[in-house]
């Protein structure tokens, strides 16, 4: 196992915690090399003990900083467990506090509710814990933790069967960091009584991924959250996609009759006001059907449109003022195509395919 913890520690921890961190590192290394049956006997705290293994030292320090149960880290906890390591009390103390921490923050996940709810619950919670004492260590941490966690997960899983709720409590918190740091791996710890070989772990990770995506889909499709059972949900999704495609077809037939004629006479000065770079391209003699310029137009328009979060309303008003013949949508005062109006006013100006100059584009809706 690589000594990644030391580098993570050295990068930016506060000096006061270094001795404890060094201790925890020693613990971790000892555990790695240790096949200790007595380890199983230290049931609950032992489980949380292993739980802390998945975390790098920085996380342990984080926990220490966390104003959770408010127990001082260095206090001599009641060490009722027979752990073969020296100074284990503080470590166990920390571990216990950690599992409490995990439980407090994500009660859903601590009840052995699998990875996905933990994953979902943790990312919002990952913002709430106090800022890391080692921000500089963070960039280096993920890369090292990647290999270590995976090997640790397997090693620890093979060596100790920890209590389920502790491992599942550990998993979400461990995953919190991975998802918070956006690692490509999802590290899965084997639960009690489950297979621990790499294939099962990978499969389980894949299944969790699929479940997460299914949940997303369920939220997207209306009325799908009540349905239980993957098959029915999939049916619902398929129906929804089919109905959407049918709607597109139907609406396109309807739109064949509607000719959207838009008046863009007031377009020029709006564009110069709103989108600076676009004004150049809005050489709105209509002329240049230059694909290169066109491409840069759209690129610039993206930037320009992105730059104006609020102003669609302003566009609406501006368009109202300068022109006498009003566009369809202005007359209606329809609120919905609010965002329609602004892009509508913006884009037709750039239509390179139209050889007709912009100003002569007086259009009215026909039905």
């Amino acid at each position: 196992m690589e000594p990644r913890g030391s580098s993570g520690v050295g990068s930016g921890n506060s000096g006061t915690y270094t001795p404890e961190i060094a201790e925890s590192l020693r613990f971790e290394e000892e555990i790695q090399s240790l096949i200790d049956p007595s380890f199983d006997a230290s049931s609950a705290a032992g489980g949380s003990f292993t739980a802390l293994l998945g975390l790098p030292a920085n996380q342990a320090v984080e926990l220490l900083h966390h104003p959770g149960p408010g127990e001082p880290p260095a206090s001599a906890a009641t060490d009722t467990l027979r752990l073969p390591f020296g100074c284990s009390s503080t470590f166990v103390e920390r571990a216990a506090r950690f599992s409490v921490f995990a439980t407090d923050d994500s009660p859903a996940s601590s009840s052995g509710g699998g990875l996905s709810p933990g994953l979902k619950a943790e990312p919002p919670d990952s913002d709430s814990p106090p800022t890391l004492p080692a921000p500089a260590g963070k960039p280096r941490r993920p890369s090292k933790r990647k290999e270590c966690e995976k090997s640790k997960a397997k090693a620890v899983a093979k060596k100790s069967k920890s209590a389920e709720e502790n491992t599942s409590a550990a998993k979400p918190a461990a995953e919190e960091n991975t998802s918070g740091d956006k690692l490509p791996y999802v590290h899965v710890r084997a639960r009690r009584g489950q297979a621990t070989d790499s294939h099962s772990l990978a499969e389980r990770a894949r299944r969790e991924k699929i479940n997460a995506r299914m949940k997303l889909l369920q939220e997207l499709v209306p009325g799908c959250s009540k349905i239980t059972g993957t098959a029915l949900v999939l049916d619902e999704i398929i129906n929804h996609v089919q109905s959407l495609q049918r709607q597109v077809e139907f609406l396109s037939m309807k739109l064949a009759a509607v000719n959207p004629r838009i008046d863009f006479s007031g377009l020029d000065h709006i564009l110069s006001a709103e989108c600076g770079p676009l004004a150049v391209a809005s050489g709105c003699g209509g002329g240049a059907s230059d694909p290169a310029m066109w491409a840069s137009d759209t690129a610039a328009s993206t930037g320009g449109i992105r730059r104006m979060p609020a102003p669609p309303q302003i566009w609406h008003l501006d368009v109202v003022h300068p022109q006498q013949s009003s566009t369809v949508w202005e007359n209606n005062g329809v609120a919905h195509p609010h965002f329609l109006l602004s892009p509508a006013t913006s884009l037709v100006g750039y239509d390179p395919a139209s050889s007709v100059p912009l100003n002569s584009n007086r259009l009215k809706t026909e039905l």
Partner: protein, 147 residues
């Protein structure tokens, strides 16, 4: 219609959040006006089909090339434009396996693993609903104005 859209690059500012409504409306309205300009008034079905293709094209362009389904749509469109064939309609109700049915529905779904398929379906549904909203808005506003 296709050529006009193809001149645009891939300006998707937020690939993770989905396409921006603004750009979608931008592209679609432009394509719509182009279709109305170029097709004869007599052939309504032909125009309807073109509008549908324009809708999918604008959807795919707005989604950007970061998505598998948008790439597949654009691929299909460009190939059809060359070969002058009509875009086939996908009816998948007979597929017993639901994953297969989904693969037929979502463009480009055949070449994906299940996990990616679900992800693409989610994005596809988002974009489709946006497109439908947009088109419905256009129809509503235009119909409420006329007699």
């Amino acid at each position: 219609m296709d050529s006009e859209n193809s001149a645009c690059g891939n300006p998707n500012p937020n690939p993770t959040l989905g396409p921006s409504k603004l750009m979608l409306a931008f592209r679609f309205l432009r394509a719509l006006s182009l279709v109305h300009r170029t097709t004869p008034a007599s052939s309504r079905t032909c125009r309807g089909r073109r509008i549908e293709r324009a809708a999918y094209a604008s959807m795919a362009y707005s989604a950007g090339t970061g998505r598998g389904w948008s790439r597949a749509v654009l691929r299909r469109l460009h190939h059809r434009a060359r070969r002058r064939a009509v875009a086939p309609r996908r009816l998948s109700t007979t597929a017993g396996n639901r994953a297969e049915a989904l693969r037929q529905l979502v463009p480009g779904g055949a070449g994906m693993d299940y996990c990616t398929l679900l992800e693409e379906t989610a994005d596809y549904i988002k974009c489709l609903s946006m497109q439908v909203e947009l088109m419905q808005g256009i129809v509503d506003s235009s119909s409420s104005y006329g007699p």
